[in-house]
């Protein structure tokens, strides 16, 4: 927890010192000015404790989010803030670096999910690592900063324009109905909730997911989304591939992705589609700092 004077606090400090100096130097009786200066000092001193008390005891945890932002949306992430005390906590601010990104207040015994939205520079993996919770309650001259030690990672996926009918190769209806289960596997964070085998969970209290037997491959067209099919600029090629993947996903085609030095084998389903999009989002993505505390770059986790 760190303490600092805000810029207006510095001004007021200088003002108070000036008042006291002038009051002491003034040839006429300036006891009122001295009283005024001392009042400002004592109020400020008390408010430091109230500022500290306003942030003491709060807990902040990140909330895992399965839905990634697209380039048409702001960068989003969520935090859960809990106030386990009977104190009303007004004037709380979540900061990234020195930039205020969310202002909120907490009632006694209250907890809130903070939905944070930030501007971004396009597709890629974004790292948020200088989050802090600050407050300048009650008089705004002092700020107590509580650094949040966890680092967050969130994705902005490329978003391609929807293909028109003329671009559609085949308008195959989506295959529906029962499918044969290949086996049960342990649940991973990226697995769909629809694939959880609830009966097993009810019996064993363990989360397992169903893996299905691949459908007859001959029944569905197989396509490859290849980087080298055209010679447009990088971003345009990525948009092109995203559009193709989107189209293939909607039409339930098996598709694979071939990028320079990277190949994702053909597959089907949401998880496969998401994996391809993540790969496209991070491909040749520049590493750069968007703002203090927010950087765009390669992901540390395997895709």
């Amino acid at each position: 927890m760190t303490f600092r004077l805000v810029s207006s606090g510095y001004l007021v400090l200088v003002l108070i010192l000036t008042i006291i100096f002038l009051a002491l130097c003034s040839p006429s009786n300036s006891n009122f000015a001295l009283f005024f200066g001392f009042s400002l000092i004592s109020t400020s001193l008390v408010s430091i404790w109230l500022t500290r008390r306003n942030i003491l005891g709060l807990s902040v945890t990140p909330v895992a989010d399965r839905k990634h932002s697209s380039t048409r949306e702001p960068l989003r992430f969520r935090l859960h803030v809990n106030n386990p005390s009977r104190l009303h906590r007004p004037s709380l601010t979540l900061r990234l670096g020195n930039q205020a990104i969310k202002r909120f207040e907490l009632l006694p015994m209250d907890n809130q999910q903070l939905h944070i939205e930030l501007n971004h520079n396009g597709r890629g993996c974004y790292h948020i690592d200088q989050l802090s919770l600050t407050t300048d309650y009650p008089i705004g001259l002092f700020r107590i900063r509580l650094p949040l030690t966890f680092a967050l990672q969130t994705w902005v996926l490329p978003c391609a324009p929807t293909l028109t009918k003329t671009h559609a190769l085949i308008n195959t209806p989506t295959v529906e109905g029962d499918r044969e289960i290949d086996g049960l596997y342990e649940y991973n964070n990226s697995d769909s909730l629809n694939t959880i085998h609830w009966k097993t969970y009810a019996k064993t209290q363990k989360l397992v997911v169903k893996h299905f037997v691949p459908e007859e491959s001959a029944a569905l067209p197989h396509i490859w989304l290849d980087w080298n099919t055209n010679d447009q600029p990088t971003e345009a090629r990525i948009l092109h591939l995203v559009a193709q993947a989107d189209w293939a996903q909607r039409n339930n085609f098996q598709f694979g992705l071939r990028l320079p030095h990277i190949e994702i084998p053909q597959g089907i389903g949401n998880i496969h589609y998401q994996r391809c999009l993540l790969q496209l989002a991070s491909f040749q993505c520049p590493q750069e700092s968007i703002m203090p505390g927010l950087t765009r770059g390669k992901t540390s986790a395997s895709l």
Binding site: L24, C25, F36, S42, R52, R86, P108, P138, G140, L239
Partner: protein
């Protein structure tokens, strides 16, 4: 399949994280700025109020039409014009280094600052400027305790509302926050104010010598006697003859026979009966109190010519005045002063005003004519003021005066004499009595003229001045002292002392191009043209019992007010090195040097501050348990004693169902408690205020002998 190449998505989303400013905060900033501007609005005058109003109008219009470029440019230009015009006018009026020039310009800047369209930044800026103005006013000597307290409360309230935009000023939380901050800061403030070393003159040799005369006198007195000088009753008398005149003032404050000032004449002095020591001149009457005009102008009278001064029959006199320090600007001189010393101003009301407040005894030489001289002229504005009769007050007196109305101004002397003779007529029953007051309120003069008919010089002068106004004769009230007591000293045979009991009030009316003095008190039956002490003990007749009681009540109130004023004066206004030393002596810390005192004050404040922090943080830790959970656990325990134990996987709703089943006679109460707890713990309404009531309900549950 072709997809056109598009640039990467670099859209910036409209994400607002800037601080909001509530209407309450805006209102508080506005009020703070009004209060900060108040001394300057009063001191500079109407044209400045107009400029502030123009600045405010510009800002309001700017907010109404915020996004039109042309308007913005126009408003900015208008703002600059207002600012430059004000600054130029102030410069012309006061000069460029005068505090009113600088502060007046700053006031206009603060008002125009509202138009920058960055609400939070503007509000903070305006508040900072307002704080500077407050501080400057106080450093310059604007000493009103109410002003000080209002400043502090407003600054704090504004800071809180600016930084907590969801807080409403009238909410309980705001009042609690504000009050707690003020209360907690009081001990620190007291320590700093009392213990922080005062070092007049020791650190800063550039102080103007003698200006701190009051402090010097105190220091001398303390060194010699070990005690401080108080304010003498005579000084209080002078102090009381200030900017306003309440009609009860002369009798309550002028009862001292102590010397107020002395005058030393180089030639034999005029007859003691002719000595009218002119002080304040009052033009405006609001029904209860007389007020001076707000703006003094220098007198445009010419100094006496050499021919005049050489004429042995010309009524001119030259003398030296010695006045004690009284903290005000007032000086006194025999009617009518025409020459005044350096450092003083002679106004066109023939008042002598010191350029500085009299914080030390002051000696000055004056030349006075004993006749109204030289002839002047009455401006339209002055004439209007001299005819002013407050509406809805004293209708009988107005009717009485209006009977003598004469449009011919040359007959003013006759009109004045006729009205004044009303007091002289023994049939009318007027008596002089300082202990009997007419009824207060807006019709006090009606009561004096037609009912009580008893009062002192202030009442007679006020009644005559108002009656003259009703009769169309311009008039005004003058206060000061009348008479004097000759001192027989070996060194100088022409020395006269004036005491507090000689405080007096009289009337001046305008006729034939001059102001003429008329003293109605002298005409009251039983009076002689000899000197009449304002306290008038010799003219005292026993007052009726009821009046005595009323006067006693008034005296108690006056005594309380005086004591309070003295307390504020000594504890706040005049607290200095000597008072501090006296206090330290009492505390057994008299031997401490300034540096030790500084360290002691910092150390004490530090200790208190740390204790305060410990207390506040302790409160946070102790209250970190969810009260709703505690309440639910109490319910479980109560029901457990009665035989119903909660299961490990049982939620509150199921627990409630089982409890209702087992204790059907307490069904409603159990259901109410449990549903309330569920709503508090899991619902949207986090109303913890219900918890104490629920606890009481749980304690009152009568579950019989158990299951």
């Amino acid at each position: 399949m072709t997809i056109s190449a598009t640039a990467p998505m670099l859209d910036k989303f409209d994400i607002h994280n800037t601080r909001a400013l509530s209407n309450d905060a805006l209102l508080m900033v506005f009020t703070t700025l009004c209060l900060a501007s108040y001394p300057y609005l009063i001191a500079i005058g109407w044209w400045f109020i107009g400029m502030v109003a123009a600045a405010l109008t510009t800002v309001v219009l700017h907010h109404i039409f915020p996004n039109k470029n042309l308007h913005t440019v126009c408003f900015k230009i208008t703002g600059y014009i207002i600012l430059l015009t004000t600054a130029f006018n102030l410069y012309r009026q006061y000069g460029y280094v005068h505090p009113l020039t600088i502060n007046g310009t700053v006031v206009i800047i603060a008002w125009l600052k509202f138009s920058d369209q960055h609400p939070y930044r503007d509000a903070s800026g305006v508040l900072l400027i307002a704080t500077i103005l407050f501080a400057e006013s106080m450093i310059a000597g604007y000493q009103h305790p109410f002003y000080l307290v209002s400043c502090l409360a407003l600054i704090l309230a504004t800071l809180i509302t600016i930084n907590n935009h969801r807080l409403r000023v009238l909410s309980r939380f705001f009042v609690f926050t504000h009050g707690r901050l003020l209360l907690l800061s009081l001990p620190l403030l007291a320590i700093l104010y009392v213990l922080f070393p005062r070092l007049p003159g020791s650190l800063f040799p550039w102080q103007i010598p003698g200006v701190n005369g009051w402090f010097d006198a105190q220091e001398k007195s303390f060194q010699q006697t070990g005690q401080l000088n108080g304010i003498s009753p005579a000084q209080e008398t002078i102090k009381a003859l200030g900017e306003t005149l309440n009609l009860d003032q002369l009798s309550t404050l002028g009862q001292s026979d102590q010397r107020v000032f002395t005058a030393t004449f180089t030639t034999p002095p005029p007859s003691l009966n002719d000595l009218y020591w002119r002080g304040a001149v009052f033009w405006k009457y609001d029904g209860e109190t007389w007020h001076m005009r707000r703006h003094w102008k220098r007198s445009e009278t010419n100094p006496p010519t050499q021919q005049d001064t050489l004429n042995p029959h010309f009524p001119i006199t030259h003398y030296k005045m010695q006045l004690p320090a009284h903290g005000r600007h007032w000086l006194y001189g025999l009617e009518f002063p025409v020459e005044h010393p350096k450092g003083t101003v002679l106004t066109n009301d023939q008042q002598l005003i010191s350029a500085r407040k009299l914080n030390q005894p002051f000696e000055y030489e004056v030349t006075s004519y004993l006749i109204p001289y030289p002839p002047g002229k009455l401006t339209t504005r002055e004439r209007r003021m001299a005819h002013q009769f407050p509406r809805n007050s004293n209708p009988k007196l107005f009717e009485f005066g209006a009977k003598y109305f004469d449009p011919n101004e040359d007959n003013s002397v006759n009109v004045a004499n006729k009205i004044a003779s009303h007091f002289q007529n023994t049939n009318n029953g007027f008596i002089y009595d300082v202990k009997r007051f007419p009824k207060g309120g807006k019709h006090s003069m009606d009561d004096f003229m037609f009912n009580s008919k008893a009062g002192q010089c202030g009442h007679y002068a006020s009644a005559l001045a108002l009656a003259l106004r009703a009769a169309g004769v311009p008039s005004r009230l003058v206060t000061g002292f009348r008479g004097g007591r000759q001192l027989h000293s070996e060194t100088n045979a022409y020395q006269i002392e004036v005491t507090g009991s000689m405080a007096h009030a009289w009337v001046e009316y305008w006729s034939l191009g001059n102001w003429w003095r008329i003293d109605p008190t002298l005409l009251v039956p039983g009076q002689t043209p000899n000197i009449i002490p304002a306290t008038g003990d010799s003219y005292n007749t026993p007052a009726p019992l009821e009046d005595q009681q009323s006067n006693n009540d008034k005296k108690i109130f006056e005594t309380f007010r005086n004591d309070l004023e003295k307390f504020i004066d000594f504890s706040l206004v005049y607290y200095n090195t000597q008072l501090q030393q006296q206090l330290l002596n009492k505390l057994g810390l008299g031997h401490l040097q300034s540096i030790h005192l500084l360290l002691l004050s910092v150390f004490t404040v530090g200790i208190l501050w740390v204790s305060m922090g410990w207390y506040l943080n302790r409160a946070t830790r102790d209250k970190s348990i969810d009260p709703a959970l505690v309440c639910y656990q109490r319910l479980q325990k109560t029901l457990g004693i009665a035989g119903l134990t909660i299961k490990a996987n049982e939620g509150p709703y199921d627990f409630m169902q089982r409890a209702i089943f087992l204790f059907p006679e307490q069904r409603e109460e159990i259901e109410r408690i449990c549903l309330a707890l569920i709503a508090i713990r899991y619902g949207k309404d986090n109303n913890l205020k219900q918890i104490p009531a629920l606890m009481k309900s749980i304690n009152r549950l009568n579950l019989g002998s158990g299951v």
